[in-house]
């Protein structure tokens, strides 16, 4: 096989792995942000409730 084949294959595979890596980190971040939003939407109420409960406990 020609040398060019090896060159392009290695660039290709390296590119693929890097793209997969970037994609994974990116998507992971998106998913976490979405979860955080959901929690924030319901979480504000909980946190204040928690503070109240603690305040009442003292």
């Amino acid at each position: 096989m020609s040398h060019a084949f090896y060159v392009y294959l290695s660039y290709g595979i390296a590119g693929l792995i890097i793209l997969a890596l970037i994609g994974w980190v990116w998507l992971d971040g998106r998913a976490r942000q979405a979860e955080l939003k959901v929690l924030e939407a319901s979480g504000m109420r909980r946190r204040s409730a928690a503070a109240k409960a603690e305040g009442a406990g003292q």
């Binding site: 060159v7 890097i18 890596l21 929690l39």
Partner: protein, 255 residues
């Protein structure tokens, strides 16, 4: 009084990661742009420079292989530094840092392994030999995977961080072995020609694209590392908030 001191200390606990998140948000776009630009220049150079008289076209594999190989070791060093941070200062950011770096390191090691064997086929006539350099890199790859597996199999994040930092530090012996394997054992693999005490011995024709690609890879690593750390911090916040919610629900149910 108790309440306020608790609140403040908890706030300062969060302060570091919070400040870190703000910082990341600020620098990340710049890092990303810089990385892209460096890759553009690096790739352009690596395809336009002359081939080697000995190795012909395949020398271009070097521009991917060598930076990836360097990064695989640098990433481990970053993890080792973070591990010290975890064990000595017990800094939560250090925990996050080495946990986030492990998959990145594994990926770069994989690239070095694959491009290396793709280079080996035309140069040495075989995909793989069990020589010291190649095997020690393979061992590095296994160690990355082992650390990932270890981290995944414990769900107390801070304990997992502390325990795996011990292993990271013990495993650090492998890095000098990789670096100097070509000198300690005579192997098929190229001896170092760039990073050496008496200056690079490589032709500047190849040096420039190599260096630019190396910087590009390094920037890529740091960009991804920052992003992965940010993800990890978010993940922990979510877990904490969920647990808090569950606890409070329990409190209300059974007063």
């Amino acid at each position: 009084m108790n309440d306020t001191s608790l609140a403040i200390s908890k706030f300062s606990d969060l302060a570091n990661p919070t400040r870190f998140l703000a910082l990341v948000a600020r620098v990340l776009p710049w890092f990303a742009c810089l990385t892209a630009a460096l890759f553009a220049v690096g790739l352009y150079l690596s395809f336009t420079t002359e081939g080697d008289y000995q190795q012909g076209e395949t020398v271009r594999i070097m521009y991917v292989h060598v930076p990836a190989a360097w990064l695989s070791m640098m990433c481990y060093s970053v993890m080792a530094l973070s591990a010290i941070g975890t064990l000595v200062w017990r800094h939560p950011l250090a925990d996050v840092s080495h946990k986030a770096a492990a998959p990145l390191g594994a990926a770069f090691t994989l690239i070095a392994l694959i491009t290396g064997s793709l280079w080996g086929k035309p140069m040495w006539g075989t995909w793989w030999v069990w020589d010291a350099r190649l095997t020690s890199v393979f061992v590095l790859f296994l160690m990355y995977l082992g650390l990932i597996a270890l981290n995944r199999s414990m769900d107390d994040a801070s304990k997992a961080a502390r325990v795996s930092s011990v292993l990271i530090l013990v495993g650090f012996v492998n890095i000098p072995i990789i670096k100097f394997s070509v000198e300690w054992w005579n192997t098929l693999h190229q001896p170092a020609s760039v990073i050496r005490l008496d200056g690079p011995t490589i032709d500047p024709e190849f040096l420039w694209p190599l260096l630019i690609m190396a910087v590009a890879f390094t920037m890529l690593f740091f960009t991804l590392h920052l992003m992965a750390m940010r993800n990890e911090i978010w993940r922990r916040r979510i877990a904490t908030q969920r647990r808090m919610a569950a606890r409070m629900a329990g409190r209300e149910a059974s007063p």
